[in-house]
């Protein structure tokens, strides 16, 4: 057994570039983007209105606008790569994208894999979309009932463990919503802000978002782990700081018809310059 362990450890060690050494900034990705003159960014393509396909097939949305802003400040073009919850970290790690802004909740385990520069740019909580006819009032009412969801959402696990719901997770929001309409589940668990905009489309009149929102969590954008404390990571921190300070995010919420979140107002207040009025 001892031998097996040593062997496994040795194999694992070989497979992983030693991270402890990776302290010095080589700024590989940043330099690559600058040389190429193009930023390749991962965004959602099924997450209205943060990132979704317009009628002409192009990807638009609030986060796409943020990517455009990043590229403009870097002085480069940008290319969008659609990602989903279950592949965005791997895409970034493998270098298929240079960074992503893709509705990702900032979590410890994710920070081990990718660089998530502070401050976070957004925040949302978890709620459900359910038929008014069922009249849900509390989360515990979901026990042992089928609840549709999307693969990759961190709260799937919480709803399962905390309330005993049976999560039926599909690959995209379209399938999950269709399954709810087809009565394959009693609710669709998702970000409250995403659900608000779904309800706002007017196609969901018999549905509601009935529960108290839970697990308010911050959204982080991501750069490669090695660049977290180098130019790219610091630059993205700066971008987020200015987005908050200048009210850019709040303006984008308005533009995309997203209900105003208290979080953005708080951040704008927090980062404003505290100079006495003249």
């Amino acid at each position: 057994m001892q031998k097996l362990m040593k062997l496994t450890a040795a194999l694992a060690a070989m497979a992983i570039p030693v991270q402890a050494v990776a302290q010095e900034c080589t700024n590989d990705v940043w330099n690559k983007v600058m040389e190429r003159g193009k930023l390749v960014a991962g965004v959602k393509a099924d997450y209205k209105p943060w990132g979704y396909r317009d009628t002409d097939g192009s990807i638009v949305g609030m986060e796409v606008d943020l990517v455009a802003d990043v590229a403009a400040k870097m002085g480069v073009d940008y290319e969008l790569v659609p990602v989903v919850g279950s592949n965005r970290l791997a895409f970034l790690e493998q270098g298929q994208i240079d960074m992503f802004i893709a509705t990702m909740t900032d979590l410890h385990d994710r920070r081990k894999i990718v660089g998530i520069p502070s401050p976070n740019y957004y925040s949302s909580g978890t709620n459900i979309l359910s038929p008014k006819a069922l009249g849900f009032k509390e989360w515990v009412q979901l026990r042992d009932k089928p609840v549709c969801a999307v693969q990759g959402a961190f709260f799937n696990k919480l709803i399962e463990e905390r309330y005993g719901a049976n999560i039926v997770a599909f690959q995209g929001t379209a399938e999950a919503k269709q399954a709810l309409r087809d009565k394959k589940c009693v609710a669709f668990a998702f970000d409250d802000s995403g659900l608000m905009s779904t309800l706002a489309t007017g196609d969901w009149e018999d549905f509601e978002m009935p529960l108290p929102t839970e697990d308010a969590a911050s959204w982080g954008l991501a750069v490669p782990k090695a660049e977290e404390n180098c130019i790219f990571g610091r630059f993205m921190s700066g971008m987020q700081y200015y987005w908050h300070r200048e009210g850019r995010l709040i303006a984008l919420e308005d533009k995309w018809g997203i209900r105003q979140t208290a979080y953005l107002a708080e951040q704008a207040e927090k980062f404003k310059d505290h100079l006495p009025a003249e």
Partner: protein
Amino acid sequence: MNGLEDFFVQLADDYPRWNFIWLYDARQADRILTGLWMTIKLSIACVLLSVVIGVVGALLQGSKNALVRSLIQGYIQFFRNTPPLVQLLFFYFALGQFTPVVVGPDGWTEQPIISNVGWAIISLSFFAGAFNVEIFRAGIEAVPNTTREAATSLGMGNLQTFAYVVFPLSLRVSIPALNNNLVNLVKTTTQAYAVAVPELLYESVSVWNDYPSAQNPTMLLLLVTYLALVGVLVFGMNTWERNMRIPGYGN
């Protein structure tokens, strides 16, 4: 056992990309095991059903009734020439609406008589079955006409000739191609993931969504597991092929 668990906890600490979480966290281990069990059940059901479809289809292909023959031909063209993933989505989301439903105890959910697992089995079996029909046809057509005539001259009827002479001989010709197709089928069960059937890929993706640090080990597990599953199938098929061997027939 505890020592081993500690080892993997330590490994995850030292190497954040190699978190073998399902080796020390009972909940994640449970997910992987239920996923594996579902994959095995799916594979067995689909392999058996697709072989049955193949045999029946090949038999009906030789029917004297032109309508039956064209029905089989239509079935083959439809299932063989469209992607299995599209079939699966079509069955589950489109046809699924027309199947009778049982209203759940909550008064809202309608449990279709055919569940997502049911649709996965049906769609994947029919997909692989379409190939199996052609595989068995190849075998049947490889049986010399003189052999059939010999059987007829012994007073055997059509069905008897098929069951006792043509089919057993054709099987020997069909096995290598059948082997290929069934191996493919076992791998294609991963597509059931698209309609949220909790098979191994679904559970694995769920695990690495919750623990991105477990992605590499879980992908490794997937690779090894499918190699093992296909290995078992191929071993079984090869043993069968050897047992079926008739000295002097083929090689």
